[in-house]
Symmetry: C2
Subunit: 345 residues, 2 copies
């Protein structure tokens, strides 16, 4: 069924290598299947002009979230935001979600109500409908599996694979804040564990922490791109850090890229806090997960419609050199971009 | 947001009560959402003549399966079969599946390959396409979340809620074998745990064990109903035992039912083995889960097209008495049907 990997381990394959390895021998047999494994969503025929988009994500306690500092209401909001972000990443609009939940007996009803309050808040905010789900006890911990369903006009879909040489690479919003929010939460957790009498000092960092705990999927960007008449040639959402997502776009489009460090957009909080943690803002942007900003490319022509728009920043461009993702630093030196990402293995 | 349940616990609500409680305050805001929580699938607009069906199920180690006697290849087959069964239960055809998998470091690559071999075998057998999924490490055990996507003609969809008084209740195949298969596996597990030198004697029970380990979703029944020109007035798949599913149909259709014990279809293996386990075949049928047979109702008129067909057995009819599900035993006495089901809380 599959190529012989000898003694290769799951860890060495990594998440995406594992998925590719396991699904390599699968063939599609339905004409309604337009695109399967390998993008933010699966693409299924809807009607003559429209595709249905489907994406599904796991959220596991102590792997993806730590209930020591993640309130359940925020978790509910975040899992919806993170899941529908994959639909926006195909330039589509999310319409439905299905939420499967497994929970151990340590959770009282009130805790699960709190989780669903967050889910409801996100559903109302993003105008998506909760249409089903499975609920079960688990032998340990809390686990969620969220499936997002949406639609996109056939003429407006953006795959990861569509970038062309010299297309401008752009990013919505700013980068690095969720990563710093996580550093703050982890630091205060360590302080608390060392001495439970010390109260965590979180208030001054509220905006950064909120970016981590309640990330906003960029539905507004999809509407804005439509108003501006722009279809990204390739797009992905930043869930595993800029470096990892750039590599995905390069691999899928069979291109390379050059990113200009000086162009990367940072919020002033990121500049201030990064130095407090002895981190460079670049590290926060490249390796920080859970941004849910959109990383996309446009043709030189479409770039004219976006140039100067405060919602978007051009950060580089695609090159012909397949698989070579590079960063030009502020001195003009070139570095290879290595994806650390959020490897869950 | 929700009615006050005071100190009510998750256990006392049960799975379906919990879902209803948590989702009661959610409203749909998209016109494409036709039907949400409360049937085998969510129903979404596809095109003028067709709906998209979506269902998602959790499968958790030591809750839904025991790897002591469930080979991973069989597990892979079963999770696909169980998930697409929900699409057939709406009289639709499954076309795609998305498989999310969380696994702890105790699983080597070979184990996961075996799991995916079973998934692939089921995908090929039922002609469904694996179109995506999320893969993650877990802190403990194996967990799967499978989303099935299908379609159904608007004129052929069967909801749980559509039964009418005097509609004939029918079931495909025979009942009770998966339940007995599970008893055999549990017995041999106990024998093995008591004395690991004793080899389990499974061979004589192969067909029963296969019914438990590799259940067949009844895709063929959906094709057959279409050929016969019959649309069930209500339908559900038997995943939690006949008693539980009858109660779901009665509740959704706001009716009662009478089932004739003497009509219930049993395989001869069920008759033989039930007595060995000191069980009545009725217990196996009523409380046995994971049959994946289809339980449905038809009008008196449509019944003429199915009467005498070896694939279907009429077992009773719907009555006006809302919520009262009854069994008439072979002596003519009436008993209330109580759902034990497969409560995972």
């Amino acid at each position: 069924m599959k190529e012989d990997l000898g003694k290769q381990s799951i860890e060495s394959l990594g998440e995406f290598g594992l998925i590719n390895h396991l699904t390599a021998a699968f063939n599609a047999s339905n004409s309604s299947t337009v695109f399967g494994v390998g993008d933010d969503c699966a693409v299924i025929v809807r009607d003559e002009a429209t595709y249905t988009l489907v994406s599904s994500d796991l959220f596991l306690e102590n792997i993806h979230f730590d209930l020591m500092y993640v309130p359940l209401k925020h978790l509910g909001y975040k899992v919806i935001s993170a899941s529908i972000s994959d639909v926006y990443a195909m330039n589509g609009m999310a319409e439905q979600v299905v939420v499967n939940i497994g929970l151990s007996s340590r959770f009282p009803l009130e805790a699960i109500e709190e989780l669903y309050e967050g889910i409801q808040k996100a559903c109302e905010h993003f105008q998506v409908d909760l249409v089903g789900g499975d609920t079960s006890s688990s032998s340990k911990g809390l686990m969620l599996s969220v499936t997002a369903i949406g639609k996109v006009s056939k003429s407006r879909i953006s795959y990861r694979k569509g970038a062309k040489t010299n297309d401008i690479i752009m990013v919505s919003g700013d980068l690095g804040r969720p990563y710093l929010g996580l550093q703050i939460l982890e630091r205060e957790k360590s302080v608390f564990l060392a001495n439970p009498n010390i109260q965590p000092e979180l208030a001054p960092f509220d905006p950064l922490i909120k970016k981590q705990l309640m990330p906003e999927a960029r539905k507004d960007v999809i509407s804005l791109l439509e108003q501006l008449g722009v279809v990204p040639s390739a797009m992905i959402d930043i869930s595993d850090g800029l470096a990892s997502e750039l590599k995905h776009l390069c691999a899928a489009s069979k291109l390379g890229c050059i990113i200009h460090e000086e162009k990367l957009p940072y919020h002033e909080d990121t500049m201030l806090l990064a130095s407090e943690f002895n981190l460079s803002p670049l590290t926060c942007a490249m390796n920080g997960g859970e941004e849910y900003e959109l990383l996309f490319s446009v043709s030189q022509e479409d770039f004219l419609a976006l140039k100067g728009n405060p919602h978007f920043t051009p950060i580089g461009y695609f090159t012909e050199e397949h698989g070579i993702a590079q960063l030009m630093d502020q001195s003009g030196s070139i570095h290879e971009i290595k994806a650390q990402g959020w490897a869950h293995f």
